[in-house]
Amino acid sequence: MLRILIAFCLTIIATTARAELDIQQVTSPGGINAWVVEEPAIPFVALEIRIRGGGTLDLPGKRGATNLMAALLEEGSGDMTAQEFQTTLEDLAASFTFRAFDDSMQISARFLTENKEEAIALLRQALIAPRFDQDALDRVRAQVIAGINSDAKSPNAIASSTFYANAFGDHPYGSSIDGTIDSVTALTRDDMFEAHRNALVLDRLFVSVVGDTTAETVGAMLDDLLGDLPAEGPALPDDVAFGLDGGITVVEFETPQSVAFFGQAGLKRDDEDFFAAFVLNHILGAGGFESRLMTEVREKRGLTYGIGTSLVPKYHAEMILGTVASSNETIAEAIEVTRSEWERMAREGVTPEELAVAKTYLTGEYPLRFDGNADIASIMAGMQMIGLTPDYVVDRNSFVEAVTLEDVNRVAAELLQPEGLHFVVVGQPEGLESTQ
């Protein structure tokens, strides 16, 4: 019945630690693929499901439908109302979370070994037979609208939403997955069923299971859990270009500290220069206290509590994004220093010492991530989503090690655009005005 395709016993080797991880790749009788790690030490199981699509599948005029649908999966299904469902879940001492993101749905479950059949049956009911009762829809809709109202008065949310709107316009990336008050107010039960039908489909679904279970039993469990989902869903949207030029956009908001959300175009996850860019970004702005931006903006000048940047390769667009917050009187200086570090990095690149230190950290830190059932399940589902194979966990550090100084510095010159960097600043920043 069950085919175990490959069983990897993987040893992640770093200069500082080795982590053993036995990933078994299984295909269920019904054809559902999963990665499984057996970890019997603690009597529970972590299950992680990701489905590509997410909020980008919202139909025209229905912005927020996928998000609201996801929030309603815990609000009644089968013959249970929301309260009956939750009472049963609490009695099992299990936990389920259902969330929609821009590009994916994420379903995480945690349940005890001794009642796993009951927990899986309950999860199946939520995924396959949600009710979307009108009273639940209205109740959760009010919570979503409260969140939208709150975002409208949050400097951080205003900054990111302004940035995305200007960068992506009408593409789903250009607006919040929560939708607008108007779009959410207009959503109906039929819209929920339609969003459910479109977002929870088998042909772009990825599963990982970690904990007190066996690879032999996972296949049947997954057929039971997911087998009744539709085989496929609607086409995903087209890719979109990052449409924001360099400059500054100031959004006036009465608050003592200005927050800046900044970024420029990035590169794809499967770009051959991805690892060079990854190391570069670590040195520039992702490396905690040691990054150049933290050193210059916080440690030397005391202008902020924190500044950070990250590579953001989404499915349909790529960016390098960052955030920094500083008093209205000092945000201009913080931005000037950031831009000048961007420019210095593009011009000079990194030093051999910086590269060596970054590699030691990045390769040493990697095995430390695999230290809990839920963490491992989440990492493995994420890997499958971007098309990696289990042996990536072994090879990944060699990809980091293979990055040369020439690679990093070439990528720094090609990728970083000090003139292309756009800052959205929310607050009452002194000495800053919007550019055209």
Binding site: A19, I42, T87, A93, L112, K300, G302, S327, L368
Partner: protein
């Protein structure tokens, strides 16, 4: 449902014996050592907890405990400024620190074979800081920006600060951990060093090491690095100003244009977990769950979010993990068209009805089951376990208290809950806070 339930209880009791493996020692200089073993991954968490927090600060120097925490990443006699974190990173690890009312803790998460290096550096900065006036100037700006980010830019945090200041009439729990802004602006080198010299000593510290380690090896390293540091003989007895009998309820309206949605909070003084006396605290855990744990099954959630559409959010919470008084609180976000006074009246009605009715035995059993299961899930997070011991021991609890807590939780009865509810839900010991964007919403 019923059948499933019986099976569950039987099965769970079989695993209840499972617990973390903990070994404890005390060094000759008075430093406590706790080792938690978890051999699933070759990782170790090294945490040093000082039994001093913001509630131990001198009057007028609020924020100095947290400010000092920042300064501990500067130079020592052998480490350059920033070298501590850089060394942890160069070894593939992460480090950070946090300050609370009752403790200040420093931690690193690294490969297990790097434990000795962590101990070497952490023990070095217990006594050998070399802070400069320039460090103080720059880092003061950093903590002020931290306050801006966490508090000044956040109307909910500002409101909470006002409510706590009113709830505690004499205790330093009424002063924010990060400090009042005007006092933070005046913190200087002497404030930081005075605090450091007195409180950063082995007889005021707890070492917690959790992960892929052997207890004897940890003990040997701890003796080598921490055991040689002399105890501080001037360490003051930890007696902080306590609350007087509180005789009148307090009401506050916090107005801030940045508030998007009016809401109300009610905070009560509540007993905390005490050594050998955790029963009332355990009953309060149940009380919070029953009144406002889950929106679907709690009394407030059912009445205000399901039976009527009075609220879009309800909650009850209890924090008894404190050295002195804890806090029990409710919060309610009214639905569109419901005023704060209507929401507050509805909330009080639900709480009063709860006090008069019998507690549903099925709900009690469900909470017991979830608490028992949470102990199993907790084993998946060794840093969480380390934190549990470090926090408890710095708040005067013992290892035995920590280990008895799950069983005490299992033994809570309906009578315990009723008794503690009658004692704690006393408006004379409470603050009711309304948070609004403008005066028109305060009705």
């Amino acid at each position: 449902m019923k059948r499933l339930f019986a099976v569950l209880v039987m099965a769970l009791s079989a695993t209840a014996a499972q617990a973390e493996e903990v070994t404890t020692y005390t060094l000759e200089n008075g430093m406590e050592v706790v080792v938690i073993e978890d051999h699933r991954a070759p990782v170790v968490v090294h945490m040093l907890w000082y039994k001093v927090g913001s509630a131990d600060e001198p009057v007028g120097a609020s924020g100095v405990a947290h400010f000092l925490e920042h300064l501990l990443f500067k130079a020592t006699d052998v480490l350059e400024s920033g070298e501590f974190s850089a060394t942890v990173a160069a070894n593939g690890g992460r480090d950070n620190a946090f300050t609370s009312y009752d403790y200040t803790a420093y931690f690193q998460r690294v490969a297990a074979d790097r434990l000795e290096l962590m101990m070497q550096m952490e023990s070095n900065r217990m006594n050998n800081l070399r802070i400069t006036a320039e460090d103080v100037e720059t880092e003061r700006q950093v903590v002020l920006e931290e306050r801006n980010q966490r508090t000044e830019n956040n109307p909910n945090a500002l409101a909470r600060e006002q409510f706590r200041a009113a709830l505690f009439q004499n205790h330093r729990y009424g002063v924010p951990i990060i400090g009042w802004k005007h006092e933070m602006e005046e913190l200087d080198l002497q404030d930081a060093l005075g605090f450091y010299d007195l409180y950063y000593s082995p007889n005021n510290a707890i070492l917690v090491v959790a992960g892929d380690v052997e207890p004897e090896e940890v003990l040997a390293l701890a003796r080598q690095y921490y055991g040689v540091i002399p105890a501080e003989d001037q360490l003051p007895v930890r007696e902080r100003p306590q609350e007087p009998p509180q005789r009148a309820e307090r009401r506050i309206t916090y107005v801030d244009a940045r508030v998007s949605q009016p809401y109300l909070v009610r905070m009560y003084l509540a007993p905390e977990r005490d050594p050998g006396a955790q029963r009332e605290a355990a009953a309060l855990v149940y009380l919070a769950e029953l009144l406002g744990g889950s929106p679907f099954t709690s009394a407030l959630g059912q009445a205000l979010q399901f039976d009527t559409q009075t609220a879009i959010y309800t909650n009850a919470s209890y924090n008894g993990s404190t050295l002195d008084d804890g806090v029990f609180s409710f919060s309610v976000v009214p639905a569109d068209g419901v005023s704060l006074s209507e929401a507050e009246a509805a909330m009080d009605e639900v709480v009063n009805a709860f006090l008069e009715a019998e507690i549903d035995p099925a709900r009690m059993e469900s909470i017991r089951t979830q608490l028992r299961a949470s102990e199993i899930y907790a084993l998946d997070d060794v840093q969480g376990l380390a934190q549990r011991y470090g926090a408890a021991l710095s708040q005067s609890l013992t290892v035995a208290d920590v280990q008895e807590w799950p069983e005490i939780l299992q033994s809570v009865t309906e009578e315990d809950i009723k008794a503690v509810a009658a004692k704690v839900l006393n408006r004379d010991q409470s603050v009711t806070g309304w948070v609004v964007a403008n005066q028109e919403e305060a009705r």
